[in-house]
Symmetry: C2
Subunit: 200 residues, 2 copies
C-alpha cells in the first residue's frame, strides 16, 4: 500500500508517518519509484504499536526506539528473556545500592531479585518521593502493596507463557509491561470507588 | 525564613520558587519589605509536595494547581471525600459510556462503581491501547489484574482511615493516589523478577 493508505488504515497523518520513518521507529517500505514506497501489514502493526507506546504508554521516543530495536533483534533464550526485556525498559537508568527500607521489604517477602537493579533503585526513589509529598508508607501498607503487585506479576508471567513463539513472548513482556501500567492505574481508581462504596 | 533559606531547606532553586509563586502553586509569604517576604514551615512542606508531584508523580502543572486547591479547601465530609478526590484527579477528563468489555468485567467482579465516571472510561481506553499495541488481554488475565488492584485499593482505603483529621485523610487520598502509582509500577517490575526467578 502507499503511504497515504497506511495513514488511512492507522489513522495517523502522513507527516507523522514520515517523522516515524526519519526517526527509524518505522522500517522503510519497498521503494517503487524515486519518491514512493510500498508498505505492508507489518507496517500497519508497527505504526499502531508506536502510537500506542507514545500516546498511552507515556514512553519517550528514545525508549520507543529501544523497544522496537529489541523486538526486531532475535529473541533471547527463555531464560534471558525477562532480563533483556527489563534492560530494554530501564535504558540507562542507573541502579544503586538499595535503601535499608527496600532491603528489609525484599527480605521479609522472600523475593529473590537483582538488588542492584534499576527497578529496586526506582522503588527506593518512589518511596522517598511519596514521603516528601507527605505520604509516608507504613511497612504494613508497603507489604500489602507488594503482595498485590506479586499477584500482578504472576498474571504477567502467565500471560507471557501463553505466547506461541519466543518473539511473541518477548513482545508480551516488553510491550505488556509498559501498556498494562495504565490499565492497572485505571483499575486502581475504579477499585477505590468499589472498596469505598462497600464500606460506606 | 527568607526565600534563599527556603531554597536551601528544600533544595529547590530560588527562580523555581518564584515560578511556583507566580503560578500560585505556593502561597505568598508574609511581606517584610517591598521586595522580601517571610516563609514558614508550611511553605517548606508545600514546596516538597509540588516538587514531588511534578518530578515523580508526572503530574501536569494544571493538575498540581487543582490538587493544591483541593487541599486548601475545607475537607468534604468523609462520605464525599473520595468523590471530591477523584474529581480533583480526573480534572476535565470526560467519562463516556463504558465499553461492553469493561461492563462485563465490573458485573463479574460485583464492583459497585460509577459506570459513567472518568476512570471507567480511562480503563476502556487503556485496554484498547494495549490491544492496538499487540497485547490483547484475555478476560482471565484482566480479572486477575482487577483482583490484585482491588487489594491495592483496600490498602489505600485503610491508609486513608489511619488519618487523624479529615484534612489529612484528603491529603492521603489525593496525593497518595498519585504518588503511590510509581511505587506500584516499580514493585511490579521487581515482582516480575522474583516471579520469574521462582519459576526458573
Amino acid at each position: 500500500m502507499r503511504i497515504s493508505e497506511l495513514a488511512e488504515r492507522t489513522d495517523v497523518p502522513v507527516h507523522t508517518l514520515k517523522f516515524y520513518l526519519r526517526e527509524r521507529l518505522l522500517p522503510p517500505g519497498l521503494p517503487t519509484s524515486r519518491t514512493s514506497a510500498d508498505y505492508g501489514e507489518e507496517h500497519v502493526e508497527r505504526v499502531r504499536l508506536v502510537r500506542a507506546l507514545v500516546e498511552h504508554g507515556g514512553v519517550s521516543l528514545a525508549a520507543v526506539r529501544r523497544i522496537v530495536g529489541a523486538l526486531e533483534a532475535p529473541p533471547p533464550s527463555r531464560h534471558e528473556l525477562l532480563g533483556t526485556a527489563h534492560s530494554t525498559l530501564a535504558g540507562d537508568e542507573a541502579g544503586t545500592h538499595a535503601s535499608p527500607e527496600v532491603l528489609a521489604l525484599l527480605a521479609e517477602l522472600g523475593w529473590c531479585t537483582w538488588e542492584d537493579g534499576p527497578f529496586v533503585a526506582e522503588l527506593g526513589r518512589a518511596l522517598e518521593a511519596a514521603r516528601a509529598a507527605g505520604v509516608p508508607l507504613p511497612p504494613e501498607s508497603l507489604r500489602r502493596y507488594a503482595e498485590a503487585m506479586r499477584a500482578v506479576a504472576e498474571a504477567d508471567v502467565d500471560l507471557a507463557l501463553r505466547a506461541t513463539s519466543a518473539a511473541e513472548a518477548m513482545h508480551t513482556v516488553v510491550v505488556g509491561t509498559v501498556m498494562i501500567d495504565p490499565v492497572l492505574v485505571a483499575l486502581r481508581r475504579v477499585a477505590q470507588e468499589a472498596a469505598s462504596a462497600a464500606r460506606a
